[in-house]
C-alpha cells in the first residue's frame, strides 16, 4: 500500500467500521444510540464550519441556517416523494432502495444548502470580521423565520412524520467523508490557498490567489456538509421544527470550532465529541450516587444543618447543568485560548 493512498484507505476503513458497528448496534439502548449519532452529526457540522471559520478565517454564524435548509429539503423530499420512489422498486422496499433514497435526499438537501451558501456568500463576502458574522447570523435567522411561515412544511408547528432513516452507519460514514474532504483539500497546493486567505488577504492576492473565489468555495462546501448534517438530523428525529435551528445551534457549532482549535480538524472532532457528551454527562452526574458521595465527603466537617444547606445548593448547581457547561467552557478558554489542539499562534489583536 502506497503511503499516498493512506487517506483514501482511512476513509474506506472508517466507512467499513461504521457499517460493522452499525450492524451490531441493533440491541443498544436507544438513548445511547441517539447520543452517539448526535456526536456524528456534530462532527459533520463542526468540521465543515471549521473550513469556513478555521481554515479560511471567515467568521460565519449562520451554520444552523444551512443545516435547516438541508434538514427541511431532505425531510420534505423523503416524506412527500419517498413512497413514490420506493414504489419504483416494485412494492417491497429493500434496504438498497431505502439507502438510495436516503443518500439521494441527503445530497439534494446538501445541494440546496450549498446553493444558499452561494447566494449568501457572494454578496456578503465583501464584508470582513464582525460584519460578516452579523450578516451570516441574520441570514440564519431569516431562514428560520421563512420556514416558520411556510405552511407546506408545517410552519411553526414543525414538520413531522419523517422516516427514521438515519443510522449509525450513515452518520459516521458521512462524518468520515466530511473529514476526508476537508483534510485532503487542505493538504494540497490548491487547498493551502484557504489558509493564505485567512493569514493575509492582501499578500494572498499579490501572489495571484483569487481570494473571493476561495471564500465562496469555502462557504459553498461548508454549507453543503451542514445541509447533509441537517438531513441526518431530520431523519433521526421524527419531527423537526424551526426552533431546533435557532442561532444557539450556530453558536454551539462555533464553540466546537473554537474549543477544538481554529483550523485543526482533529481538535474540532474532539471538541464535537466532548461538547456533545458533556451536557449528557452533567445530566447523569447531577443524579448520580457519585455526586452524593462527593458531597458527603466534601462537606463532612460542616455541622448537620449547614451540611444540609450546602449539599442541597451544590446539587442544585449541578442540576442547572447549562450553567456548569458555560463555566467549564469559560475555564477551558482561559486555560487554552488556542483551543484543545490549536496549533495556531495567537492572532495579533490588530488584525
Amino acid at each position: 500500500m502506497n503511503y499516498r493512498h493512506i487517506k483514501k484507505f482511512a476513509l474506506l476503513a472508517a466507512i467499513i467500521l461504521s457499517a460493522v458497528v452499525s450492524h451490531f448496534s441493533g440491541g443498544w439502548n436507544q438513548y445511547h444510540l441517539l447520543i452517539i449519532i448526535t456526536i456524528g452529526i456534530n462532527i459533520v457540522l463542526a468540521v465543515s464550519l471549521n473550513l469556513i471559520n478555521g481554515y479560511t478565517g471567515q467568521f460565519s454564524l449562520g451554520h444552523a441556517g444551512f443545516m435547516a435548509i438541508g434538514a427541511y429539503v431532505s425531510a420534505y423530499l423523503s416524506t412527500e416523494y419517498g413512497a413514490n420512489f420506493l414504489r419504483l422498486f416494485g412494492g417491497h422496499a429493500g434496504a438498497l432502495a431505502i439507502a438510495l433514497l436516503f443518500l439521494g435526499v441527503l445530497i439534494l438537501g446538501g445541494i440546496a444548502a450549498a446553493v444558499a451558501g452561494l447566494i449568501v456568500g457572494v454578496p456578503s463576502l465583501r464584508l470582513k470580521g464582525d460584519y460578516l458574522a452579523i450578516v451570516t447570523l441574520g441570514f440564519g435567522e431569516i431562514i428560520r423565520v421563512i420556514i416558520q411561515n411556510t405552511d407546506a412544511v408545517g410552519g411553526a408547528r414543525g414538520y413531522s412524520g419523517i422516516a427514521n432513516y438515519t443510522t449509525l452507519f450513515w452518520t459516521f460514514a458521512l462524518a468520515a467523508v466530511t473529514i476526508y474532504v476537508v483534510v485532503s483539500l487542505i493538504d494540497s497546493t490548491y487547498g493551502r490557498g484557504f489558509l493564505t486567505v485567512r493569514d493575509d488577504e492582501i499578500a494572498a492576492e499579490a501572489v495571484g490567489i483569487n481570494t473571493t473565489r476561495y471564500k465562496v468555495v469555502a462557504f459553498v462546501l461548508g454549507a453543503f456538509f451542514a445541509g447533509i448534517a441537517g438531513g441526518l438530523y431530520a431523519h433521526i428525529n421524527n419531527s423537526i421544527n424551526p426552533q431546533g435551528f435557532d442561532f444557539q445551534v450556530s453558536i454551539l457549532i462555533v464553540t466546537m470550532v473554537i474549543l477544538g482549535g481554529m483550523g485543526s480538524t482533529p481538535g474540532v472532532v474532539l471538541a464535537a465529541v466532548v461538547l456533545t457528551l458533556l451536557p449528557e454527562f452533567l445530566r447523569w452526574f447531577a443524579k448520580s450516587d457519585l455526586l452524593d458521595w462527593l458531597v458527603r465527603h466534601a462537606y463532612q466537617f460542616l455541622s448537620p444543618e449547614h451540611f444540609a444547606v450546602a449539599a442541597a445548593k451544590t446539587k442544585e448547581l449541578f442540576e442547572s447543568r447549562m450553567i456548569l457547561f458555560s463555566i467549564l467552557l469559560i475555564a477551558l478558554m482561559l486555560l487554552r485560548p488556542q483551543g484543545l489542539f490549536g496549533a495556531l499562534p495567537r492572532r495579533k489583536a490588530s488584525r
Partner: protein, 257 residues
Amino acid sequence: MPLLDLQHCTVRFGGLTAVSALDLQIGAHDLIGLIGPNGAGKTTVFNIITGVYRPTSGSIAFDGRPIGGAKPNVIAGRGIARTFQNIRLFATLNVFDNVRAAFNLRCKHGLAHALWRTPAFYREEENIERQVMELLDIFDLGRHRATLCSSLSYGDQRRLEIVRALATKPKLLLLDEPAAGMNPTEKEALTRLIRQIKDRFDIAVLLVEHDMKVVMSICERICVLDHGTKIAEGNPNAIRRDPKVIEAYLGEAPANV
C-alpha cells in the same frame, strides 16, 4: 517597447493628488529605483501598478496590454510580483508553504483533483515541491523549510518575501523598501541579493527605497518623486547632483547628498 508603461497616471484621494501625471517606462531588463521624500507617492505608484488602486486618469500597460482596473491577483498572474513595506508573510504557514502558496497561480489542479488525488495531482505536487525547494536553496532558506515563518530572523523574513514573489515567476518585481529596518551588514547582503536576482532570473526590478546608499549602488536609473510629481529621472550620478532633488530632500541650501 517597454515592459511596463505608465502614461500620465494620476491618483486622487478626494482633494489630495497623491500621484500626478506620472510617466514611467520600465524595460524588460531594467533595475530602476523610485525615490522621494516621505509622502511623495511612491507606495501609491506601487499600488496602481499592482491593481490595489485604480488610477483616476491615465493608462498603464504591461507587456503590451493594458492593466488598468484588473484585480491584484490577475495582475500577479500577468507577471508582476511585489513585496511589502511592512512584511506580509502568511504567519501561520511554514517557510515551504509560504512559497508554495505562490504556485497556486500556476497550479492546474483544483478542488476535484485535490479530493480525488489522481496520479496527475501527485505529479504536479511533486513538481511544485521540487521548484519550491530549488528556490529556497538558491536563497539559502532550504534548511528552514519547516520553520514557521514568524520565527525567522528579520532579514530572513525579508528574503522569504522576495522568494515568494519570485515564485510567481514574474517579469517585473516590485520591491517596497526592502532595506527598511536592516542594519548595514544586512543592507549589504540585500544589495548583493538584488543583483543576484537580476542576474539569475533576468527580470525587471522596480525598487522603492529610502536608503540612498542601497539605491545609488545598484540602480541603473532612478526616478525621483516629490508631491506626486516626477521631478527628475536619470542615472545615479546625475540624480545625486540634480538641484531639484537636493532641494526636495534637504530644503533650499545645496549640500552633498
